[in-house]
């Protein structure tokens, strides 16, 4: 259990004061070396290595099928749930390999939250959706504490004002954008350190998208956020660092500004200017 000890989130976190300067990059939260992913005989990712800093937003961009979502799912071992999927290489969070035998994916996923492409609230009430994580992980010891966590999470996700009077309404009754913020609140409720977002705005209208983007910008004060997006504009708006994937390989990674204004690789240039896609 020694290795997994380092993976445990502190049970109660207080928001620590930190720098607002995006250029001041924190030490690497996630360190990834030579990751290969196979679906059966097909190789989906080819020796990807990248460092992802904490308390900032890192965007993965690239054309469809380039492996960016697959890569994202390696970080919280969601690929375990796909039959025939095999992951090789080292993925370390705070220095501990997530694929280590002693690491319990259940504990790992409590520390690494995830938001999916399509909002997927459970067919339960709004309250129960947010309370789900704290309940299964036993975070709240009393009903009032649980209510406090739900309220705090909904507030952080910017949804509290809209739903505070109808917490018992089904989560599926909300609009698409609200559902996505509900899902984000659900992820926040267990105090993760990292939040993975897999094209979180692709199913939303522009106004809802703008709200989510604002939210992401707020959340970066507290969480390490990794976002997969196929909108380069979105990557430019929300992220501090950007990584470009193409054909299962990581082509280039660096500060967002640099990638968009002065990429080193010609393929990145081609993609950004719309020549490949």
């Amino acid at each position: 259990m020694v290795t997994s000890m380092t993976l445990q989130p502190p049970l109660i976190r207080t928001a620590a004061p930190h720098s607002h300067n995006p250029a001041a990059v924190e030490p690497s939260k996630i360190v990834i070396r030579d990751v290969n992913v196979f679906y059966g005989a097909k190789q989906a990712l080819d020796s990807v290595s990248i460092d992802i800093p904490g308390r900032s937003v890192t965007a993965f961009i690239g054309p469809s099928g380039c492996g960016k979502s697959t890569f994202l799912r390696c970080i919280n071992r969601m690929n375990d749930t796909i039959p025939g999927c095999r992951v090789e290489g080292a993925i370390e969070i705070d220095g501990a390999d997530v694929n280590d035998k002693t690491v319990d994916p259940v504990v790992l996923r409590a520390k690494v939250g995830m938001v999916f492409q399509k909002p997927n609230p459970f067919p339960k009430s709004i309250f129960e959706n947010v309370a789900y994580g704290p309940r299964i992980h036993g975070i709240a010891s009393s009903k009032s504490e649980l209510e406090g966590i739900v309220e705090a999470s909904l507030k952080k996700a910017g949804l509290w004002a809209e739903v505070s009077d109808r917490l018992n309404a089904p989560g599926t009754s909300l609009s698409g954008g609200q559902q996505q913020r509900l899902v984000i609140a659900r992820a926040i409720a267990v105090n993760p350190e990292i939040i993975l977002m897999d094209e979180p705005c692709s199913a939303l209208d522009p106004i809802a998208t703008a709200r989510i983007e604002e939210l992401i910008d707020d959340l970066r004060q507290q969480f390490c956020i990794v976002i997969v997006t196929h909108s380069m504009a979105q990557a430019a708006r929300v992220s501090q660092r950007t990584a470009f994937f193409h054909m299962g390989r990581l082509i280039e990674a660096g500060p967002t500004e640099e990638i968009f204004t002065n990429p080193r690789e010609s393929r990145t240039q081609d993609y950004i200017t719309g020549r490949i896609g």
Binding site: T81, L108, A110, N120, P121, F122, H137, A187, V190
Partner: protein, 480 residues
């Protein structure tokens, strides 16, 4: 036989009409087949349909209803000697007259004197009627076939829309076939309601539905004192319910957990082996389950309970021991358990479909929160699938209620009002089989009671099915 020959002749006639009309269409085209509106084959088919179909319909209708019409014509005049006979004997007389006329074996009753003469006369009349009927129908169909050709053939022309006409016929045929399914329902409802009405003339519906004594055997003969018999169906309902409950106690957990394991835990390899094996269990005919219940499960259960009883006798639980010693092969438990086995694959495959219909995004959402598989199943998948699973279980209940062979072979015939699974009980379906497989007059209350039971069974299963299918359909639409 004559009818088959007539139909064959008609088919041959239609075929030649087809050839003729097709040739005519080719001639109309004057070598440029594109100048025809429709292909020559359609012209041929259209005329052939008019030649063959109306005539064939007449012949087939005659084959189905002819005997009945002849029969009622025969009975229009009742000879004086026959009128004196009691009603059942009159029936026998008429069926004997028709049987002799058709060259079949009549009943063993010998007819002498005036009634013998009446029989001879009626037999001759029956023969005459059947000849008249056959000849007139054949003549009518011949006329129809000719008229069909004479009316249709002259209409062939270059611009005649033969294909559209043939497709019109096809449409009618398709609609007729679809209507058959509706007719089946009408037939089921009609016959059940009609015969039940006749039953309820002698036994009041309230006595039937709420009476607690079932003993139809008394009503076998009309001259007996207690001719009314006892037709209180409550013991049958209780027996049916008891066996269904036992069956669901076996099938629901095993079937549901199998489905959960197969859809959430098993790898593709395991799934590919186990699913077909369970399908074998589903394909086994119910009579085989009945055999298994009667000759394997029943005796072993009895042996087991008798053994337990022998252990308990003369101990502190002596009365229970004494009771267990007397347990018989035919008990509710045997039939219920075997029926439960039969329903396992039914429950598991339905639930499997339903669990698989829960979108993967919900699973992903739960796993991404750090839930274990069992937490995901219990807290997300099952609540989401609940209406569907409830529907599946209701369909299984409906199957259990309507299942016949297992209970007929393993449950017993005694109508007891009991909730003891070790006791012999009987069910609605068992009683239907028992009432109808003996040699009785069809119109006795005893046989009609079977239709009363059938109507009850149909109503209950139909209600269950409609509700269950509604649940399942709504559930599917939710995730489509």
């Amino acid at each position: 036989m004559t009818i088959l020959i007539a139909l064959a002749l008609l088919a041959a006639f239609s075929a030649s009409v087809y050839m003729l009309s097709r040739r005519r269409a080719v001639a109309l085209a004057e070598g440029r087949s594109a100048s025809l509106h429709s292909l020559p084959g359609y012209h041929g088919t259209w005329v052939a349909l008019w030649a063959g179909v109306p005539a064939a319909l007449i012949i087939i209708l005659f084959a189905i209803f002819g005997a009945r019409i002849e029969d009622s014509a025969l009975r229009a005049q009742v000879p004086a000697a026959v009128a004196e006979l009691p009603a059942e004997r009159q029936e026998v007389f008429w069926s004997d007259a028709s049987a002799i006329a058709r060259g079949q074996t009549p009943s063993e009753i010998s007819y002498q004197g005036p009634i013998g003469e009446a029989l001879a006369a009626k037999t001759a009349e029956a023969r005459r009627l059947s000849v008249i009927g056959l000849v007139s129908v054949l003549a009518l169909s011949g006329v129809l076939a000719l008229c069909g050709v004479l009316l249709a053939y002259p209409r062939l022309s270059k611009d005649f829309r033969a294909r559209n006409r043939v497709e019109g016929w096809t449409g009618v045929l398709l609609i007729a076939c679809s209507t058959l399914a509706v007719l089946t329902t009408v037939g089921i409802l009609g016959s059940l309601i009609w015969e039940s009405m006749r039953f309820f003339q002698s036994v009041s519906p309230a006595d039937f539905l709420f009476g607690t004594s079932w003993d139809p055997q008394i009503a076998m003969r009309s001259d007996q004192v207690a001719a009314k018999g006892a037709f209180g169906a409550v013991p049958l309902f209780v027996g049916t319910f008891l066996i269904m409950l036992i069956a669901m106690t076996v099938a629901a957990p095993v079937g549901l957990f199998s489905a959960i394991y197969l859809s959430e835990y098993a790898g593709p390899g395991t799934r590919a082996t186990i699913k077909p094996l369970l399908e074998i269990l589903a394909g086994v005919p119910t009579v085989v389950y009945g055999f298994f219940a009667a000759l394997t499960v029943g005796p072993s259960f009895r042996a087991f309970f008798n053994w337990v009883g022998a252990m308990l006798v003369e101990g502190p639980m002596d009365p229970l021991g004494q009771y267990l010693m007397t347990v018989q092969n035919q008990m509710a438990l045997t039939a219920g358990v075997v029926m439960g086995i039969m329903l396992i694959p039914f429950v598991s495959s339905l639930s499997d479909d339903i669990i698989n219909a829960v979108p993967q995004t919900l699973r992903d959402g739960s796993y991404a929160m750090g839930a274990t598989k069992s937490e995901t199943v219990k807290r997300v998948i099952l609540p989401a699938a609940l209406p569907g699973v409830a529907g599946a279980l209701m369909l299984a209940v409906s199957r259990a209620i309507g299942e016949t062979m297992i209970v007929t072979m393993a449950a017993g015939l005694q109508a007891k009002l009991t909730a003891n699974p070790l006791d012999t009980v009987t069910t609605v379906t068992v009683q239907i089989v028992t009432l109808l497989t003996g040699d009785q007059e069809f119109d006795s209350p005893k046989t009609l009671a079977a239709f009363g039971l059938g109507l009850t069974l149909f109503t209950v299963t139909l209600a269950l099915n409609i509700v269950a299918l509604g649940f399942v359909r709504k559930y599917r639409e939710q995730y489509d």
